[in-house]
């Protein structure tokens, strides 16, 4: 008997059919993976199950009983728990407070009983191996621990059906292993689990059954062992996918960027980059691998002038730029594809043509003195839209109306179209569909082949491996090691987790079918 059954779930948002007639069953004690590209409708489906959205059509059955889930309260009451991709934790509150929120235990019916909840958290921790200090504040905890708190929240509410939404996105390969252990101990105690991801290897490793979504529809299901990555990728994307980026061997030339003993504080004033050294040469792609929050963001901000340096030097083509403003750095020929495209990369309310000149609006031919040259700016916009294949009804529509992939193309068009010597691309394909990813990857390699120095920062190890000629692993604000293009994931993963380069076993450096390798 399935513990959960979805029948014919349909949900439409203005202009988009997010879910069409989706059927899904979850057996007791099963790990059921929901696989799909970004935008395939996985999260929408789970939000419907969790009561955050109402379906237009379709029904939900729990233990063979038809249920109406009006909101998270209903879902929780029926034993459904969800670990959201973006953690739903209040940073300024303690673990205990976060766990009890919405389901508080009280003394004499009025006052919060923190001790009792703390006690329960300790019990849950012990039982499932989820170690955490109940009195710690969330803001002080690393992401791996925060995820444990999310799982504890779900278990505290005695959920039987757990939904994990992209749980591995922010973890190191070793942390992923730890998570998988927790997942197995959950299954052993009789829970059932839906595991949402777009990572093929993970799915093959952990799932009992796989359902693939594409454009809001179920395109098929599979059992690991009967399918391989290539097959799953094709189901997911709907066509044959080239999993590797085709490129020639790099021809590195002189060093364009030289970073020496760099120290940078983050926006709150805490040290984030601690004595980092790095060179990037013309005609090569250097990839920075690392778990999120190890100073990559601050490194890029320091290189582009968005954060001040505490100490150290940055040389660009031999020129010292450690005190330069963002504008001076841009004028030195640095292009920056920012990590958060909607925060830094675009002015969403501005039309495309203005976004296309965001960094150059003040220079001829776009401006003469203070007078902006509207016609030149419009011509520039039309040209770039064509050249970079941005799908838009016109150059006069606001950037906010474009899809994520097209927004990213606008940024790429703007940054790649001016003469540049150094390209810094941070999470260049985050949240994009496979088509856009392939396009942007090929453009980056094209730039490299033109002789531009390229620095790619990404938390997607696959992306780093696909693009890089050299891979720099960043851990706690330092580059701990630089590996050649052929490095193994296990090797990279251990470095990312803080294992010292000299302590890495040789077995991890060779391509093998070890357990960690399988994860990806």
């Amino acid at each position: 008997m399935p513990v959960l059954e979805l029948r014919g779930i349909t949900k439409t948002f203005p202009g988009v059919k997010a879910n069409q007639d989706i059927d899904l069953t979850l057996e007791k004690g099963e790990i059921h993976a929901l696989l799909g590209e970004n935008g395939a409708g996985k999260t929408t489906l789970m939000n419907i199950l969790y009561g955050l959205y109402k379906p237009d059509k379709g029904e939900i059955l729990i233990n063979d009983q038809k249920v109406d889930i009006e909101g998270p309260n209903d879902a929780i009451a029926r034993g459904i728990g969800m670990v959201h991709q973006h953690f739903m934790l209040v940073p300024v509150m303690t673990v205990t407070e976060n766990v009890m929120l919405g389901n508080e235990t009280t003394k004499s019916g009025v006052l919060l009983d923190r001790e009792k909840v703390t006690q329960r958290i300790r019990e849950i921790s012990d039982r499932y191996g989820l170690e955490v200090d109940p009195n710690a504040y969330i803001k002080d905890l690393p992401v791996g621990i925060q995820q444990r708190v999310e799982i504890i929240k779900v278990l505290y509410r005695q959920a039987d059906i757990l939904i994990l939404d992209e749980p591995t996105a922010v973890l190191t390969p070793q942390e992923v292993d730890g998570l998988f252990k927790i997942i197995h101990s959950l299954i052993d105690s009789g829970k059932s689990l839906i595991f949402i991801t777009h990572k093929l290897k993970e799915v093959l490793h952990i799932a009992n059954r796989i359902t693939v979504l594409r454009l809001g529809q179920v395109v098929g299901s599979a059992i690991p062992g009967e399918v391989d990555e290539q097959k799953l990728a094709e189901m997911m994307v709907g066509r044959e996918v080239n999993l590797v980026v085709e490129k020639k061997v790099a021809q590195p030339k002189e060093a364009v960027l030289k970073v020496k003993d760099l120290h940078v504080n983050d926006e709150r004033g805490n040290p984030a980059v601690n004595g980092l050294n790095l060179d990037v040469h013309a005609g090569e792609v250097v990839g920075v691998a690392g778990v999120q929050g190890n100073g990559q963001t601050e490194l890029v901000y320091a290189l582009t002038g968005l954060l001040p340096l505490k100490s150290g030097t940055i040389h660009l083509n031999g020129k010292d730029i450690h005190k330069a403003t963002p504008r001076q750095i841009i004028e030195q020929g640095v292009a920056h594809v920012p990590e958060d495209r909607q925060k830094h990369g675009l002015v969403l309310s501005f039309p495309l043509l203005d976004n296309m000149v965001l960094c150059t609006y003040y220079k001829p031919p776009f401006a003469k003195g203070v007078n902006m040259q509207d016609r030149v700016i419009a011509e520039n916009g039309s040209m770039l839209v064509k050249q970079f294949d941005v799908r838009t009804p016109s150059i006069f529509v606001a950037a906010s109306t474009l899809s994520g992939g097209n927004q990213q193309k606008v940024i790429v068009a703007r940054e790649f179209s001016r003469p540049i010597k150094l390209l810094i691309a941070s999470q260049p394909t985050r949240g994009l569909d496979v088509g856009s990813i392939e396009y942007i990857h090929s453009r980056i390699i094209e730039k490299r082949d033109e002789g531009t120095a390229v620095l790619v920062v990404s938390s997607e190890l696959d992306e780093i491996i696909a693009l890089s000629d050299r891979i720099a692993v960043m851990y706690r604000g330092k580059i701990v090691d630089i590996l050649p293009a052929g490095a193994t994931k296990e090797h990279l993963g251990l470095l990312m987790a803080g294992v010292k380069p000299e302590d890495i076993p040789d077995s991890a450096k060779k391509k093998s079918a070890g357990p960690v390798e399988k994860v990806f």
């Binding site: 991709q85 504008r327 474009l402 994520g404």
Partner: protein
């Protein structure tokens, strides 16, 4: 990684929510402000009739004489709004007759009398144009300048000081100096919150409110002390004639060059905001400060610059009132210009031309309100009520859409909806 392209992170959400930016962009069309004004006036009419003793009495006898109830209601509203618009626009027949007399006999007395109301409305609208532009420039830079009130007052004090303390200068030097005095004082009052915002991230809303009160206290002191004219009342001396904005017509018509100046400044601000790199930077900072920083725009400078321009305009507003109309300053001089300015900027969608139109409307309403009070006994405060309502309706267009069953003009995010 993410399944939703619309709003995965909090920073992206920022651009999704309703905020200052959407007031002048996107789904807003020109019909809505007009309906907002209309609805404000209708509710104003209900308030006028509903608080009128004769109307209430007539409705008490509704079942005996239903016609009388409606008639009384109509009379009440018609008298009030008749007085309001008569007092602000004048009587068209009188104006035509005035022209006829003027062209046939060359006697302009009748004409001047007939156009008096409309010139008074223009006179009232003049400081509103400046003040509305002040708030609008702030909005465009993402700043909510609630301090236009204080800046207005400081501007008035600055210009009046230059106006009376310098004597014997020719007008072509003295008048610009007096205007500059007003601009400088207002700009200073705006620059302080602008700097604190840029440097420390201190919220400009609270700080401009604080600056208002500091300004009021300071002016209390100035008007009772250093700037007090000889005599009993806490007022300044009159400005020299050379610092006055010349009137177009003989007294009592007070419409003056300030109005022309206001139109010119509105055009100047339009050019600045939309045709120059300076405006591009201000608007970029306003629409997305993070992207502005990424693009190499100096945020600190633009926040301060926008607040200096905004404060300067508010100061100029005070100066235009002093130099063109009052010629002296007393306590309680500002009387809500700063708050009216917020309504005007919102109504004008923070576009200089929209601001001019909205300011003219408020000039008409405020100009006629005094006459409405004397003729129909309706307190002038009815205008504040209408104004508050207009702000609500402009800021919440959904109410208007719901009232008039208007469908949203476009749902713009079709393409990038949730996956």
């Amino acid at each position: 990684m993410t399944d939703k392209t619309v709003k995965p992170t909090p920073s992206e959400k920022k651009d999704d929510k309703f905020d200052l930016r959407q007031i002048f962009e996107g789904s807003y069309n020109t019909l809505l402000p007009l309906l907002a004004i209309f609805t404000g006036l209708v509710i104003g009419a209900i308030v006028i009739a509903g608080t009128d003793a004769t109307v209430i009495a007539a409705w008490k006898n509704f079942f005996q004489a239903p016609g009388a109830a409606f008639a009384a209601t109509w009379t009440s509203i018609a008298t009030a709004y008749g007085a309001l618009f008569g007092g602000s626009l004048g009587n068209p027949r009188d104006i035509v007759a005035g022209f006829q007399t003027y062209f046939s006999t060359g006697d302009n007395a009748a004409l001047l009398k007939a156009i008096y109301p409309i010139t008074e409305s223009l006179t009232t609208a003049t400081p509103y144009i400046f003040a509305g532009l002040a708030v609008a420039v702030g909005f465009r830079c993402g700043l909510f300048n609630i301090g236009a009130e204080g800046q207005f007052f400081m501007g008035a004090l600055g210009s009046v000081f230059v106006g009376y303390s310098l004597q014997g200068l020719p007008a072509f030097i003295h008048l610009p100096l007096a205007l500059l005095g007003g601009i400088a004082a207002g700009a200073l009052w705006g620059a302080i919150p602008g700097y604190l915002k840029a440097k420390f991230g201190a919220h400009e809303v609270v700080n401009t409110i604080m600056m208002n009160w500091i300004g009021f206290r300071l002016s209390d002191w100035l008007l009772n002390g250093p700037m007090k004219s000889p005599g009993f009342r806490p007022v300044t001396r009159n400005i020299a004639e050379s610092a006055q904005l010349p009137h177009f017509f003989p007294d009592p018509l007070r419409v003056n060059w300030g109005f022309i100046l206001a139109l010119l400044v509105a055009w100047l601000i339009y050019w600045l905001l939309f045709k120059t790199t300076i405006g591009f930077e201000i608007r970029t900072v306003g629409a997305n400060p993070d992207a502005a920083k990424y693009a190499g725009v100096n945020i600190v400078r633009n926040f301060v610059l926008a607040m200096v321009i905004s404060g300067g305009l508010a100061g100029l507003s005070g100066a235009s009132q002093v130099l063109g109309v009052d010629h002296w300053v007393g306590q309680g001089f500002s009387a809500g210009y700063g708050f009216d300015a917020i309504a005007i900027a919102l109504l004008g969608k923070s576009h200089p031309f929209g601001v001019v139109l909205a300011a003219l409307l408020f000039g008409v309403l405020r100009g006629g309100a005094t006459r409405m009070q004397s003729l129909a006994g309706i307190p002038v405060d009815i205008i504040s009520i209408i104004q508050g309502l207009v702000i609500v309706f402009v800021a919440a267009p959904d109410i208007i859409r719901w009232l008039y069953r208007i469908r949203p003009a476009e749902h713009k995010q079709a393409l990038q909806s949730r996956g």
